[in-house]
């Protein structure tokens, strides 16, 4: 044994380490492979030893060899051994090797589960870190399932180093084991607010990655991310969040509106180009999603375009590239804004950087118009000539065709010009896109009837000069255009000036060197031409021309009959026999022209590319059933109809294949193909289709087309597209002149105005009329075409599995498998696993913090609701059965104790609450966000945002069973009130009630959730509408008194009702009971009493107060006139019960109804507001406040909060505000501030009310 160890260490000393290996490889440059193979042999020996150090060294070397491309999977088991070493050094080597060469099908991965788990829980943070890093590269579904729980635990590790790695790896776990997403998500969400920036960044990273694939599930996180965006200073995090918002906005346009402002601010303020760029990108995404309905929309677009222009003009090529990239996004929706930068983009076409040129080309696509198409294409043609390298030139070529053919040739005014451009493009050396040009030629010739004469003439020239194109035809894609040329000449041969000559050109012996499918078209169309020639000579008694033609055909066709290509051969022999027969008839002087041309009669119509696919299958037709016995042969491969231009397989193999055997079958197939080729319904040339050929571009030189002057053509040579530009200009000028004349004739008196405009100003798009009356035939579709189903998602996308609703509450069965029963579970499928968990391995699910807090909030709200239920008067809605129970059961109990049962009966509402949270958050969107940041304003707005709220909060029915809405939108007033009380408590050094703490907690939490609180901003002084109503004057009486604080608010539902909430607080050590509340009615205002009671009867307060406890009751008053403030006298009587005795006490108070209390916060949009101001029936008034020493947004918040206004619009130090009284009076304010002076201009349709409201506002600010 000892000997073995010694031997091991000696061996080790002579082992090569990684450095030696590298050095060795470098020294054996000539026989590297051989050297490495000896090294691998050595490594194999080393791996056989027991010494872990030797093994680790070997594995380290293998990792290097893996990088050089050697398969090292045979050592997988040794890698696992090294991974499980107890030493960090070796462990790291092992994990590195594993991360480089393990993958899902590596079977030894199964063995690693326990080792990884051990490492994950290692006390050494670097063991854990290394394991996490490694695992992130080779995690499998099994590993993910087995280790998810361990990683979950690590997400709450004390060390941020581990936390961030654990958070990050969760993404990989989710991908492999989607079931873990929902259980883990709450904790992941929690990590968004981790104190460590690295962990936070990791969480943002993971959620962004998840949300990018399935954005809709993450919409509810928008408020949280919004908060992060406004608070974070880490550019990495910001970029991720901003990118995420870019993905979210298409789903929720309101979010976009909310984002515009902070993003615009960032654009203005940031110095980081990366951040600026992403902001611009997201603003673009927002603008795309909004498309309309934003008033200052164009300003944002302008800002973006302006910033992008700066980027493009930058000397840094990277910025230039990105600027162009982003510009192309704007182009899709706002082409106008981009078009103004045409100069810049054309300039980029000359850039030396190909990436930039390509981007600029993309942009050109959207910038063309009828007016500038020719000019732009001309410029592009120049580039084509100059371009080096086929890739870029091919790109240019496709771009030219794309630009011209886009939206059904919308921008082409002169098709002659287009045809000549196409012909010019055929001169391109070694392009791969011959088929593209060809299909364009076909498409234009078929669909634009007026152009056929011209097109045919051009094609005839092309055929005549075919030898120039076919320098090296087998490898040269350009000869594809001959296919189109031949077909066009044949099909529309009636337009040919000299069919004889063209026929001659098509039957030249050299044609036989063309690819087979082109030859076939040649032969077929030669026959068509033949028919045309016969027809044209019909009246002619001298038969020499026709006889010559027949002779020519008979002489030349045999070449094709011998063709190796079956289709050519077949067609040729058919036609040859036909011509021979015709020749016989001709010799007998029989008139055959009519009959021959009947062979090719009929008009062709273009068919939409997908028309065939969309023909519905007739009922009862099952295409899958066999009609005959299935053939034994491999027939299926050729079954699909072939598009004309696709010819993936080399022709030789096809021919050989048909020759081999089953001739009969092949012939039928070929016949079908021929039929397809001749069948107009198989012309599948869509203007946009661009199939990329796999052919290698020919590099051989092709001579530029020259005009063969010996050929007497009527069209003198090939037209230069440039001349059309000039012609077009002339034509337009002429048109303009004519138009001007017409204008003059039409309205002589207006002669000066419009006529001149036409002269000088550039013509608008509509003015340009096409040169020809172009009849663009639309493509035909079957009558009952099926709707398109093109945008199917890739079913193999791993992210599809992660499309999981995250807002639903977790079910019991949803948890990550726990390790305790792993051995038993290992063999089971995940589903069984979970079942098993549900029964046996239940680990008490940890409620994570957020949930708990939410529950706490809920509890508090329950409590509050209950309280008010208790207090409320009987006449108010009694919609809930629960009500009675609570009243009966809990009257005597301290409120705190009564929580539990009702909480249990509460259904989980977190989901709907969250959703409506989002709605609420978004509903604030029209209001400038800096105002929203003020919690009080938000609260006030919340109070008015929807009816729900008015029902739930301001209303006198706090027991509405709309739990969710209540939760979500409850204005924080109640809580504020509690806070205030809490303060009072503190001041008086009284024993505090712990439940107040809950409330204050709840407030903080809720506002965070809503995203409306900007904690970093200077906090607002706490505000409350509650004021002291009366304090007991019986100080002698052992402090048994109650404070009365009250708040008055209008009732939205009833025009003449005001609800007063009164908080009663027991400040003494004794029990207070039998409280009775009474108010002396005035003429104008009356306390609503239950039916049957007299006008002076007092109302019992529906609760008793133990020492130190407070509770709230609400009273409804009817008011008639609301234009004046009112004061009502009232009395509260109660019994103070101590252990020894009980005394009857009384407290007088005055209820002060201000005019403000009749106002209801109502949101108003700026356009409606403007309309309102315009209407004449508003009286105006104004007030100035001096010495107001607070920030403007605090001021606004105060007005909003105390006086129930909402902000309509805020611009710098000026804001318009709106409110409405319970009787429907509009109150509009314009608040301006300069220094310490605040001026308020107000308008209202009731001057008295307005005056009083203004006085009250003045008073509010004089107090502070």
């Amino acid at each position: 044994m000892a000997l073995k160890i010694v031997k091991g260490s000696i061996d080790r000393m002579f082992d090569k380490n990684l450095q030696d290996l590298v050095r060795g490889i470098r020294n054996h440059k000539d026989d590297e492979a051989k050297y490495i193979s000896t090294c691998i042999d050595e490594i194999k020996q080393e791996l056989k030893q027991d010494n872990i150090a030797v093994k680790a060294n070997a594995v380290c070397k293998l990792t290097y060899l893996q990088m050089l491309g050697y398969d090292v999977s045979w050592a997988a088991f040794n890698i696992v051994e090294v991974m499980s070493s107890s030493k960090f050094t070796y462990k790291r080597i092992g994990y590195l090797a594993a991360s480089q060469c393990f993958h899902e099908s590596t079977d030894v991965i199964m063995l690693t589960t326990n080792q990884i788990r051990k490492d994950l829980s290692s006390p050494n943070q670097y063991d854990t870190g290394v394991a996490l890093t490694g695992l992130s590269c080779f995690v499998t579904p099994d590993l993910a399932r087995d280790l998810a729980n361990d990683i979950m635990t690590l997400m709450s590790h004390t060390k941020p180093y581990i936390r961030k790695k654990a958070v990050l790896i969760m993404y990989k776990v989710f991908l492999k084991y989607p079931e873990s997403l929902r259980p883990a998500f709450p904790r992941l969400k929690e990590k968004l607010e981790d104190p460590d920036p690295g962990v936070q960044s990791a969480a943002v990273n993971v959620i962004c990655e998840l949300a990018r694939r399935n954005p809709k599930n993450y919409l509810s996180l928008a408020p949280l991310f919004f908060k992060l965006m406004t608070s974070s200073t880490n550019n990495w995090v910001l970029i991720k969040i901003i990118k995420l918002f870019g993905a979210l906005t298409p789903l929720e346009p309101r979010l976009g509106k909310k984002l515009i402002e902070p993003l615009t601010n960032l654009i203005h303020s940031t110095s980081a180009m990366s951040l600026l760029y992403e902001c611009v990108n997201t603003v673009i995404a927002v603008l795309i999603s909004l498309s309309s309905g934003m008033p200052n929309h164009s300003a944002s677009i302008q800002l973006c375009v302006q910033k992008l222009r700066i980027l493009i003009e930058d000397s840094d090529q990277n910025l230039k590239y990105l600027g162009l990239l982003a510009m192309s996004k704007i182009l899709k929706t706002h082409p106008k804004s981009v078009q103004s930068h045409k100069d810049l983009i054309l300039q980029c076409l000359d850039d030396k950087d190909e990436s930039i040129r390509l981007r600029a080309l993309d942009l050109l696509y959207g910038m063309v118009s009828k007016k500038n198409l020719m000019e732009i294409v001309k410029k592009l043609m120049l580039h084509v000539d100059k371009a080096e390298g086929t890739t870029y030139r091919d790109e240019l070529l496709t771009k030219i065709i794309d630009i011209c053919s886009q939206s059904n040739y919308q921008y082409i005014t002169n098709f002659e010009w287009y045809i000549s451009i196409l012909v010019e493009l055929t001169r391109l050396e070694g392009t791969r896109h011959g088929h593209l040009i060809a299909s364009q030629m076909l498409d234009v010739a078929i669909r634009v009837k007026a152009i056929r004469v011209f097109a045919v003439a051009q094609m005839a020239t092309l055929l005549d000069n075919a030898h120039l194109l076919t320098g090296n035809m087998q490898r040269n894609g350009i000869c594809e255009v001959l296919y189109a040329a031949a077909w066009i000449c044949g099909e529309f041969s009636e337009h040919l000036e000299n069919p004889m000559q063209t026929l001659e050109a098509m039957l030249r012996p050299k044609v036989a060197t063309l690819p087979g499918h082109i030859q076939a078209v040649y032969v077929q169309n030669a026959a068509k031409l033949f028919a045309t020639v016969l027809k044209s000579q019909e009246g002619n008694t001298d038969g020499t021309v026709t006889q010559d033609t027949s002779q020519l055909m008979i002489e030349r066709l045999p070449v094709f009959v011998q063709s190796a290509n079956l289709e050519v051969q077949e067609r040729a022999s058919c036609i040859l026999q036909l011509v021979k027969y015709i020749q016989k008839l001709q010799q007998k002087d029989v008139e055959v022209a009519e009959e021959v041309s009947a062979l090719f009669a009929g008009e062709l119509n273009p068919v939409a590319p997908k028309a065939q696919k969309k023909v519905p299958v007739p009922e009862g037709l099952d295409l899958d059933t066999w009609i005959n016995e299935p053939p034994s042969e491999s027939e299926s491969e050729d079954e699909q109809p072939k598009a004309i231009f696709t010819k993936e397989e080399p022709k030789h193999s096809r021919a050989r294949h048909t020759e081999v055997d089953e001739k009969e079958l092949a012939r039928r197939r070929e016949a079908r193909k021929q039929e397809q080729a001749n069948n107009p319904f198989y012309i599948k040339s869509s203007p946009s289709s661009q199939k990329v050929y796999q052919e290698t571009p020919g590099v051989d030189h092709i001579p530029v087309i020259q005009i063969d002057l010996t050929v007497p053509l009527k069209v003198p040579g090939l037209p230069m597209s440039d001349q059309y530009v000039k012609l077009e200009e002339e034509r337009r000028q002429k048109e303009r002149a004519e138009k001007k004349k017409k204008d003059k004739k039409k309205r002589k008196e207006k002669r000066s105005g419009r006529g001149k405009k036409h002269d000088s100003g550039p013509e608008s798009e509509e003015d340009i009329t096409p040169a020809h009356m172009v009849d663009i035939v639309t493509e035909e579709m079957p009558e009952n075409a099926l709707p398109s189903d093109d945008d199917e998602k890739d079913p193999n996308d791993p992210h599809k599995a992660l499309d999981i609703d995250l807002d639903k509450p977790l079910a019991d069965s949803e948890k990550i498998p726990v390790r305790s029963h792993r051995a038993a579970e290992a063999a089971k499928s995940p589903v069984e696993d979970r079942d098993a968990d549900g029964i046996a391995t239940q680990l008490p699910k940890k409620k994570h913090g957020k949930e708990k807090r939410e529950e706490k909030k809920k509890k508090d709200k329950d409590r509050e609701r209950k309280k008010s239920k208790d207090e409320k008067k009987k006449k108010k809605h009694k919609s809930e059965e629960k009500d009675g129970d609570l009243l009966g059961a809990e009257v005597d109990e301290p409120v705190v104790q009564s929580e539990e049962p009702s909480q249990a009966s509460e259904p989980p509402t977190s989901n709907s609450a969250e959703v409506s949270d989002l709605d609420f958050w978004l509903s604030n969107a029209p209001v400038p966000s800096n105002i929203q940041e003020v919690p009080k304003v938000a609260a006030a707005e919340a109070a008015s945002a929807a009816e729900v709220i008015s029902g739930g909060a301001q209303d006198s029915e706090p027991d509405e069973p709309k739990d969710a809405e209540m939760e979500a939108t409850k204005p924080s007033k109640h809580k504020k009130k509690k806070q205030k009380k809490e303060k009072e408590d503190k001041e008086k050094k009284k024993k505090k009630h712990h439940h107040y703490h809950h409330h204050s907690d709840g407030v903080g939490e809720e506002s965070v959730q809503n995203g409306t609180v900007e904690e970093e901003e200077e906090p607002l002084p706490s505000m409350s509408n509650y004021c002291l109503l009366a304090e007991n004057s019986y100080i002698k009486m052992m402090m048994e008194d109650a404070d009365q604080v009250y708040d008055i608010q209008g009732n939205l539902q009833d025009g003449s009702q005001v609800v007063v909430s009164v908080i009663f607080e027991n400040k003494c050590d004794s029990f207070l009971k039998s409280m009775e509340f009474n108010v002396l009615d005035s003429l104008n205002s009356k306390l609503q009493r239950p039916e049957g009671s007299g006008p002076h009867d007092s109302l019992a307060v529906p609760f008793q107060l133990p020492p130190g406890v407070s509770n709230e009751a609400r009273y409804v008053f009817t008011v008639q006139s609301i234009v004046m403030p009112q004061k009502l006298k009232g009395t509260l009587t109660f019994i103070v019960k101590t252990e020894e005795s009980s005394t009857h006490e009384k407290l007088d108070f005055k209820l002060h109804f201000t005019c403000t209390s009749y106002l209801i916060t109502t949101p108003c949009y700026s356009d409606a507001f403007a309309k309102l101001l315009e209407s004449a029936d508003l009286k105006s008034s104004s007030v100035r406040l001096e010495g107001v020493n607070m920030p403007f947004h605090h001021l606004l918040a105060r007005i909003c909060f105390h006086h129930h206004f909402s902000v309509v619009e805020r611009i710098d130090s000026c804001a318009s505000m709106y409110s409405r009284s319970i009787q429907g009076h509009h109150v509009c304010l314009l608040v301006k501030t300069s220094g310490q002076t605040v001026s308020i201009d107000a308008k209202c349709d009731e001057p008295m009310l307005l005056g009083n409201v203004l006085d009250e506002i003045k008073q509010t600010f004089s107090q502070c």
Binding site: L18, T63, F88, T133, V139, S201, I239, K243, Y321, L322
Partner: protein
């Protein structure tokens, strides 16, 4: 997500390859070759972005690279990464290497590819950016190296004796 990180020299010799998706060794070599081919034919003063080659490509992916002296650093990323951000990350990576190796040169990467991997692991994990703060990265790398040293002290000394 980052799909792959490659470092190769001016002749296309790989110095580090990290694929965050599985490919066979042959495909990996092919990708490296092709990427080298794409990157090396570009001039110095052109932009650092390339719309991907056939193998690693797909319209969503981009190659983002930087050229330092004899080495190319190439990141293949999808559209969820910020282009300029990744350029910064490459810079951070190189600066970190520079700090860890003290004036890094190609030879350091040739002989200590494992160390480069370890440094990279502190920056990018499973294709996602883990840390961008250079000081934090160096702290963690140093701490791990210290641990390694304390463990392999004996081993080191035996080798030096030789």
């Amino acid at each position: 997500m980052i799909k792959a990180i490659l470092i190769f020299n001016n002749h296309g010799k790989p110095r580090l390859s990290k694929f965050y998706e599985h490919y066979t060794e042959d495909t990996e070599q092919q990708i490296i070759r092709e990427t080298f081919h794409l990157v090396s034919k570009r001039d110095e003063n052109v932009c650092n972005f390339l719309e991907g080659g056939m193998l690693i490509g797909g319209s969503d992916y981009k190659l983002i690279y930087r050229h330092y002296a004899t080495l190319y650093f190439v990141f293949c990323v999808d559209s969820s990464e910020s282009e300029l951000g990744i350029l910064d990350l490459i810079q951070v990576f190189v600066e970190t290497l520079d700090k860890c190796f003290e004036n890094v040169c190609e030879l350091d990467l040739i002989f200590h590819v494992d160390k480069v991997h370890n440094i990279l692991a502190e920056m990018v994990m499973g294709g996602m950016v883990l840390e961008t703060n250079m000081n934090e990265i160096i702290t963690q790398v140093d701490a791990q190296n210290k641990m390694e040293k304390s463990e392999t002290f004996i081993f080191q000394s035996t080798r030096q004796d030789r």
